[in-house]
């Protein structure tokens, strides 16, 4: 079997996680190229539907990366994001999908290493889980929308 390379989407907040990702770059810390970042001003903007749609469109895993708890640039956007991630986990569980395919992580802008480590760990988690249940049926990820 061909080696499974998951597609992973990371919604990163501008002030912390996205900056941390840049920081990882400037320190030349490598992490799996599977992770593709979508920048948002605050993880509080990341709606449950964005996570669901990412899975629907073909992501094998999605995570939201925000500021450390208590350090959100917008006070509590990251707490809202966590609640939404938890809700999506519940829906996935009910659907028989692995809830580990979505996650919330927190880091500060300076934590380039943590960004890389998180990306690495999440990628490994998804590799262990295997391809998204939506792909196993050979149905592709094409969904009428």
């Amino acid at each position: 079997m061909e080696k499974f390379e998951p597609e992973i989407v990371a919604f990163c907040c501008h002030y912390c996680a996205y900056t941390a990702a840049d920081m990882a770059g400037s320190k030349r810390i490598s992490y799996p190229s599977n992770v593709k970042i979508i920048r948002v001003p605050c993880t509080g903007k990341v709606d449950a539907i964005h996570l669901m749609k990412a899975l629907e469109k073909g992501a094998d895993g999605v995570y939201v990366a925000g500021c450390l708890e208590g350090d959100c640039h917008f006070k509590n956007g990251n707490i809202r994001a966590l609640a939404r991630v938890d809700r999506v986990k519940k829906v996935l569980t009910e659907l028989g999908w692995e809830p580990e395919r979505v996650a919330m992580v927190n880091m500060s802008a300076g934590m380039g290493e943590k960004f890389a480590r998180t990306a690495q760990e999440f990628t490994e988690t998804i590799k262990k889980l295997g391809p998204s249940p939506g792909k196993l049926t050979g149905n592709g990820n094409k969904v009428a929308s």
Binding site: E7, V9, H14, Y18, T19, A21, D22, A24, G25, S26, R28, I29, S30, Y31, S33, K36, I37, I38, R39, V40, P41, C42, G44, K45, V46, D47, I49, H50, K53, A54, K57, G58, A59, G70, D71, H73, F74, K75, N76, G77, R80, A81, R84, S108, A109, G110, A116, N141
Partner: protein, 1014 residues
């Protein structure tokens, strides 16, 4: 582009500031002034601005590409409306006095009309000898521009070398050749002058023992930078000059020409060479192979800057760079291999060693150039024995002549961050010679009217930077563009070299116009750093600035996946697809603005805080000083003398009185900050003040953090248990108060790095070596017979402090090195102190009886204060709890959170003089923000669709800032000027009636589509 002629509404010339020197410091000073809406003339004798930094490959401590780091500032320089740049120009006469100088300028002929030149390069191709080129190792650099992002972006002709002027004129399709261009002389009125000419680098050819300029494979640090640089002679490949082979073994020799007493040497320390050698060695191993053996020969490792010690530790421990503490005797070249043998002696070995290397880099330092010596005469300023500008003991940017200020290396050797601090400080000082700015001065439109693109089908231009090696070295940009072209809506897909260079920007502008593009995707650096630049570009061509998407191909792709180019390539394809899919959905948006509060809050009432407050208050800014202690003065209250011998107490008292008397300053002592809200330009901070802790709230546009640091008092070496073990601070007092006691001391032992450079506090405290020298010299003055022993790890008397170190040795102070694994022990028996240590030179343990042991304890962050404030203000801190500035290199006083500025020891340990400089700099930077008078809130705000709104109140409840409300129409209303743009409401709205502009759902979903399509 650059503004050569003053526009019609030009301001009266007496308001101008003349900045001499277009290096990074001069640019910073000029930009600060221009951003504060002061007219500036920046002159540089070269044909393009940028100075030394543009020739460097990467900069410490971030190891970023220098060009990439500096280029945003350069092109900013070109576009800033209050700034005029005159290259190839020098000052020949300065008359008059501060506020009303008359300056005579001479501009050399360029023979090229910069307005017409498109830098197509035809002239350079056909007449290479006549076009002025890159200095450095190899005259035939791949580009004939001095560097790819040159400003002004135009060539320059050396007419003396032109044989056929007609032929030259013929190749220039832009008709830019000015064959009869002549030297021109102008006399202008200026209010003040900022001198920022930097210095030359020492030419090691004058030394006979290292073969500089003689052996092919012996290069200077700068030449090594050029060799590694993507725009250098070998296109960024590390090669030996002798045979083009990649070296396997490279050595750096420190202090070449510096800290010496021999022929050609100068006694001072150049301050930057240790760091650049470490950087060059690290980059060598990182980029050219970790099989390259790298060795640094040094006397003292002087990594005294903020977090620099960590950098040194990384170089040694992670990059395995070999460190040899020795000043080599000589280098001998092997004739056939052109390899180099270095002969050196180790501290503890009597015999000399010899070792062969492929390449040797001489770490040469700064020398004041001949031109500059003349310039000092023209300006009429005093200089020190080494021709650097002589400056005020408490303010290093003040020269002996009122109205003339200095910054950067011409003041003393220093690195880029310190130059940036001084540049901002000098700019802030230069402003004081100008009248206070009238409040109603309006900004006028800089950009043409916007094209209406609504309803048009997307026509997307995709432009990918190769950024030299940074992107192009990892990705196949052309292949990437092929994929981009397959999108039907992509009209143009081009590679643009260094996208942020003026040339590429002009190209992109042209292509947008030519192809009638209405959407742009830039593949290059992080949008965090480069988005604004390209948004400006769009505005210049009449497109709304939100019609661009920046795809982060460098920071988040080639930099992290440089070792797996195929993965980087496929990720790049996807990221670009995301950008293309996303930009299709971008809509033109309008930025919102709010009037800015013109008040300033200075947190901390020490020397730094008071200095910053005075500077701001003098400019008519209402300034609040919040100080926790019952009185002003801070840590400086406990310091008596500076190393220069100045009385600190008198100085501090003077400041306190000035602050107290100032109409624009309100001092709040016994005060703490308890809450904070608002946004940059409109902050609200709650303060509990006075004995009764009354609450008050102040509005302010900017905040200066000057909370200082604490004197460290680690319980080491008997401190706190043995009476005669004291700190340098206590010795400083003792020297003023009890001369008799000093005279009674037969032997004094000083121990350096106490509580610093240790695992629990890994950084260097910077001030302790000079403090030890200061006190040692004072002891010797009072009591010449007292024997002084200084136990040190590396003496870090950087810059001109080196003189005091030398003087101390001359006076017989004994310096004994120790290492962490063999640290000294202080033993007290029957009230008699003795210090045991290992002497590496004698290679034996020794015992020194001491009447007094003085510990150099340095400064540590006030963890509690910085933590409280960091939480309240949302500010980042370093690992050792100092505040962390936005960019350690280029923005050393700006915090990442706009509107916050950092100065003094809250930033990192530093001397009073350095703190004062940073205070001026912070005040200056704060003024640039306040000068804008209004806050741009951006366009990223929540917008309610009243037709969809169910008035459910969810937005009202979840908004972290209580902005939404249900209006008279019965639907939610979110005022754009109050919205912070977090999008929490949009994420929770059950009716999907709220969208966050610029991040609307369809935009995010389109990006996901882009990622997963095909």
């Amino acid at each position: 582009m650059q503004k050569n002629n003053s526009s019609e509404n030009a301001l009266s010339p007496d308001r101008r500031v003349l900045v001499i020197g277009g290096g990074v410091g001069g640019i910073r000073a000029a930009l600060d002034l221009a951003e504060s809406r002061r007219d500036v003339l920046l002159i540089d004798k070269s044909y393009a601005i940028g100075g030394l930094m543009t020739q460097l490959d990467r900069t410490f401590p971030t190891n970023n590409c220098d060009l990439c780091t500096v280029s945003p500032y350069l092109s900013q320089g070109a576009r800033e409306r209050h700034l005029e740049i005159k290259p190839m120009t020098s000052l020949t006469k300065l008359e008059g006095e501060a506020g009303a100088f008359s300056a005579t300028l001479v501009t050399e002929p360029r023979f090229i009309d910069t307005d017409k030149c498109t830098a197509c390069g035809e002239c350079a191709k056909q007449f290479p000898e006549a076009v002025r080129v890159t200095p450095g190792l190899d005259p035939r650099a791949p580009t004939c521009m001095r560097y790819p992002q040159a400003t002004p972006f135009a060539f320059s002709i050396d007419m003396a070398k032109v044989t056929d002027i007609a032929a030259l004129k013929k190749v220039c399709r832009a008709d830019a050749i000015l064959a009869d261009d002549t030297q021109s002389k102008t006399v202008i009125d200026v209010a003040s002058v900022v001198l920022c000419v930097g210095a030359d680098l020492f030419d090691p050819a004058v030394l006979d023992n290292y073969g500089g300029g003689k052996f092919d494979n012996v290069v200077t640090g700068l030449e090594y930078e050029r060799i590694m640089s993507a725009s250098g002679p070998f296109q960024g490949n590390l090669k030996r000059k002798s045979d083009g082979r990649r070296p396997k073994k490279v050595a750096w020799i420190q202090c070449v020409g510096s800290r010496g007493i021999n022929k050609g040497d100068v006694p001072y320390c150049s301050g930057v060479c240790c760091m650049y050698a470490l950087k060059e060695a690290m980059v060598t191993r990182e980029r050219f192979g970790d099989d390259i053996d790298t060795t640094i020969f040094f006397m003292d490792m002087r990594t005294y800057g903020k977090d620099y010690e960590l950098y040194f530790n990384r170089a040694r421990d992670e990059y395995k760079i070999r460190m040899i503490r020795s000043r080599p005797h000589s280098i001998v070249e092997t004739a056939e291999t052109k390899n180099l043998s270095i002969t050196y002696a180790l501290e503890d070995k009597p015999v000399q060693e010899t070792e062969e290397f492929d390449m040797v880099v001489l770490s040469t330092g700064f020398r004041v150039g001949e031109d500059t010596k003349n310039l000092a005469g023209v300006l009429g300023i005093d200089v020190n024995p080494y021709d650097f500008a002589a400056t005020h003991p408490f303010n290093p940017v003040l020269t002996s002549k009122p109205g003339v200020y200095v910054c950067g290396v011409i003041e003393s050797p220093k690195d880029i961050p310190e130059t940036m601090v001084q540049a901002s400080a000098a700019a802030a000082m230069a402003v004081t010679d100008l009248p206070v700015i009238p409040k109603d001065r309006e900004m006028d439109e800089m950009f043409p009217p916007e094209r209406d693109v609504r309803g048009q089908d997307p026509r997307i231009g995709v432009f990918v930077c190769d950024c030299g090696f940074e992107i192009g070295g990892v990705l196949d940009v052309n292949k990437l563009l092929e994929t981009a072209k397959t999108h039907p809506e992509v009209a143009v897909a081009r590679a643009v070299g260094y996208g942020c260079s003026s040339e590429s920007m002009a190209n992109i502008e042209a292509m947008i116009k030519e192809n009638n593009l209405n959407r742009v995707v830039i593949g290059g650096c992080s949008p965090r750093t480069h988005e604004t630049k390209f948004q400006d570009l769009l505005q210049r061509v009449g497109l709304n600035k939100y019609l661009v998407e920046i795809v982060n191909l460098r920071d988040q792709n080639t930099w992290t996946h440089m070792n797996v180019p195929d993965q980087a390539q496929s990720k790049a394809v996807k990221l670009l697809n995301v950008g293309i899919a996303g930009v299709r959905k971008n809509r033109p948006l309008v930025d919102h603005t709010l009037p800015m509060s013109q008040n300033a809050l200075v947190v901390g009432g020490g020397v730094t805080g008071m200095t910053a407050a005075l500077k701001l208050a003098d400019q008519g800014i209402k300034t609040y000083i919040v100080e926790r202690a019952p009185s002003l003065g801070g840590l400086a209250r406990s310091i008596r003398k500076t190393i220069e011998g100045e009385d600190v107490g008198v100085f501090v008292q003077g400041l306190v009185e000035k602050v107290a008397a100032h109409d624009n300053i309100q001092v709040l002592t016994r005060s703490i900050i308890v809450d904070h809200s608002g946004m940059p330009g409109l902050f609200k901070t709650g303060i509990q003040t006075g004995v009764r802790m009354n609450y008050m709230q102040i509005d302010h546009g900017v905040t200066v953090l000057a909370t200082g640091a604490m004197a460290n008092r680690p319980a080491q070496y008997g401190l706190g248990t043995c009476t005669n073990v004291i700190t340098q601070l206590e010795m400083d007092s003792l020297l003023e108060e009890d001369t008799a006691r000093i005279q009674s001391m037969e032997q004094v032992v000083m121990i350096q790095c106490v509580g610093s450079r240790e695992p629990e506090n890994p950084n260097c405290s910077r001030i302790c070596c000079q403090a030890a020298m200061k006190n040692a010299l004072r002891i010797k003055e009072i009591s010449p017979d007292t024997q002084i022993f200084v136990l040190y790890r590396d003496m870090r008397t950087y810059g001109f402090q080196e003189e005091y170190y030398r003087k101390a040795r001359d006076l017989g102070v004994k310096f004994i090195r120790f290492s962490l694994d063999m640290r000294p022990k202080v033993v007290e028996t029957d009230n008699i102190l003795a210090v045991h240590t290992h002497d590496f030179i004698l290679d034996s343990d020794i015992e020194i009886a001491a009447d007094c042991v003085v510990l150099s304890t340095g400064l540590i962050a006030d963890d509690e204060t910085t933590e409280d404030l960091a939480l309240m203000f949302h500010l980042p801190r370093t690992g050792d709890n100092f505040f962390l500035e936005d960019h350690v290199k280029l923005r050393p006083v700006d915090m990442a959170q706009r509107g916050f500025f950092l100065a003094g020891t809250a930033h990192s340990p530093k001397t009073i003089r350095e703190s004062i400089t940073q205070a001026h700099a912070a005040a200056g930077r704060a003024q640039t923000l306040l000068a804008k008078k209004e806050i741009n809130l951006g366009a990223c705000v929540a917008k309610v669709d009243p037709d969809k709104c169910a008035s459910c109140l969810v937005c009202v409840r979840v908004c972290p800032f209580d902005v939404p409300f249900i209006n008279a129409e019965g639907v939610s209303q979110i005022d754009a000027d109050k919205c912070h743009g977090c999008g929490v409401c949009a994420g929770d709205c059950p009716a999907k009636a709220i969208q966050l502009l610029a991040y609307e759902d369809d935009q995010i979903l389109a990006k996901l589509d882009g990622l997963f399509e095909r």
